[in-house]
Assembly symmetry: C4
Homo-oligomer: 195 residues x 4
């Protein structure tokens, strides 16, 4: 099976997830700039959710550029990733509504961790199906980014019950780490002449 | 006519259906984990709706991998399938809101039955148009899954008026039956060299 | 310019329009079937809106199967069609909310008329760009369906101020006329060997 | 990397943005045409938002017709453009709700300016990646439209604090300037034989 339709469906779901939070930005009644102030946390959480989903779209795009065929297991792993990503707007909203309380930051980190694990499972199943000699197999021999992220989210969840602000710094640090697209795959694609 | 655009439109509608229920998960005001408890039925129904629509997407994808050309009748049958699937979030929500009352489980089963029948009609029209010698015709000579599902939904609707929990078990059992992608089509595709 | 992206964008907008009304079906609190009764007009208007947008998608699909290249004017005409179609859920809702009052049926007919005219303009611009010798030009030499529809909508708007039910019958009759996909284009496509 | 998926994702996000405002058109309870009057500002802002997003889609489409390959930076610039466009419905709504008060027109102009700058950055990065000898590089040597727009938005923001109606005229004038698709790219595409 080719990857076209998996990509199209994922694009559709991600496009909806990325724009869901803008619906939360209700127009205030006053015309002064002060009337916009109560919306700032919601705006910031929209911005952050947009960046995070954007990063996942970016890396999803990079990964499937290097994948040529998928099977039923890869389709299911992709659905699992979309499910966890779809919970991001909710947990970001809960965190913003409660001024970054301990519980809310911990749950937020948990959903980020599940997204990362789902992405990892998707990557592993794709490599297994394509073969370690394939473009994707060659590109992802070393997974330091994935290891750092998973460890970071995990420790962030525990730290959240003591110093939630430290957890947020960890989560934002991981986002910056991933905002640079996966140059490993771009390099591997350049090596293979047929791409 | 090729199947590209039918698939793209279906992907769009399914992507919206699958994410509609996440809009029902309203952010609670408290920061404690207890504040999330009242959301659990809605969360579970979102999860279940996600899985069910995901299964349909998966099998829709498998079916159209084996189909090369469509006609006007197939387009109409596809619209009918999308219509019944779009009612899933509503009936799942009604069931969750009323603690799985008899009526709600019966209506839920009815919509699942109509989705299954619409899928069956779509399959039959596609085979008729492609020919019994085609990839899809060869793949779907035996329809035990379709027969079990239709029978299961039908008996589930009647049982719901007496033991709604038994009906739910039947519906979840059918979901598990379908979560394994249609290997018949994967096998048939592997047999035909041009795919 | 090829038609791929125009089709993809139109599919996205139509997929959203077609599912917007399902959001209006709010889950009722009671578990009895009587609790669903107040939702029937909304359900019927959702069903009708689904069918109408489905018909437009279907004919849009047929038309662009026969079109190979588009220019800027065709893109703008397509946007105009999408705009009028996006107003369908609103006018259908207004009509359902007010038990098919005269004004509401007239406005409803007006939006249907504008959709039909926008489709006609799109068709004309496409033929002009492709040439009268092209597949689309050959397929649409005779436009009796378009003429009947436009006339029907126009008279329906005026009749609505006296007998709104007659107008509705006219509108539903036109829908049935179009539910059969445009076989003229299917025939013309079959004549041209390269499709 | 090819541009297919960037276009598909952008189409999805733009399709959602363009239809978000139709959700704001709540069905009024009365059946008289007067009952629709309070909706007129919302309808006009929906129309305007539709036109503006439509223009951006149109020019985005034209630009990527001339682009063959993208890199990670272009993907990020595209996400930035989508983010600013997604704020258009909110600022248009705030302006309509407050009868075009000074602050609201200024913020509205600010978002239009950020969209224009994001589009400019995207264009520059695309040309840098494709090379000045490429189709896109040849098409966009002269950027008078971009310069006029940026200047117009900038002065419009400042003028809004004194004469908001003048700012609106400037913004609408720029929209008309862009409603004519980028014929520079159409001409350059016609020159290159492979397109």
């Amino acid at each position: 099976m080719t990857t076209n339709r998996l990509e199209a469906f994922s694009d559709g779901v991600l496009a909806i997830i990325i724009t869901i939070m803008v619906l939360e930005l209700k127009v205030p009644h006053g015309a002064s700039f002060e009337a916009l102030e109560p919306l700032m946390p919601k705006f910031l959480s929209y911005l952050f959710s947009f960046i995070y989903v954007g990063i996942y779209w970016n890396n999803h795009h990079h990964m499937f550029q290097a994948i040529e065929r998928v099977n039923g297991k890869v389709l299911l792993a992709n659905l699992a990733l979309l499910f966890w990503l779809s919970l991001l707007p909710f947990v970001t909203g809960w965190m913003g509504e409660n001024d970054f309380a301990k519980n809310t930051v911990a749950l937020y980190g948990f959903v980020l961790l599940m997204c990362a694990l789902a992405f990892l499972v998707l990557e592993k199943l794709a490599i297994k199906h394509e073969g370690h000699e394939s473009t994707i197999g060659q590109a992802l021999t070393d997974r330091w980014k994935e290891r750092i992220s998973t460890g970071g989210y995990f420790s962030g969840i525990i730290i959240a019950f003591f110093y939630p602000m430290v957890s947020l710094l960890i989560f934002y640090g991981i986002a910056i780490l991933w905002i640079i697209p996966d140059s490993r795959i771009e390099q591997a694609l350049n090596k293979t002449p047929e791409n």
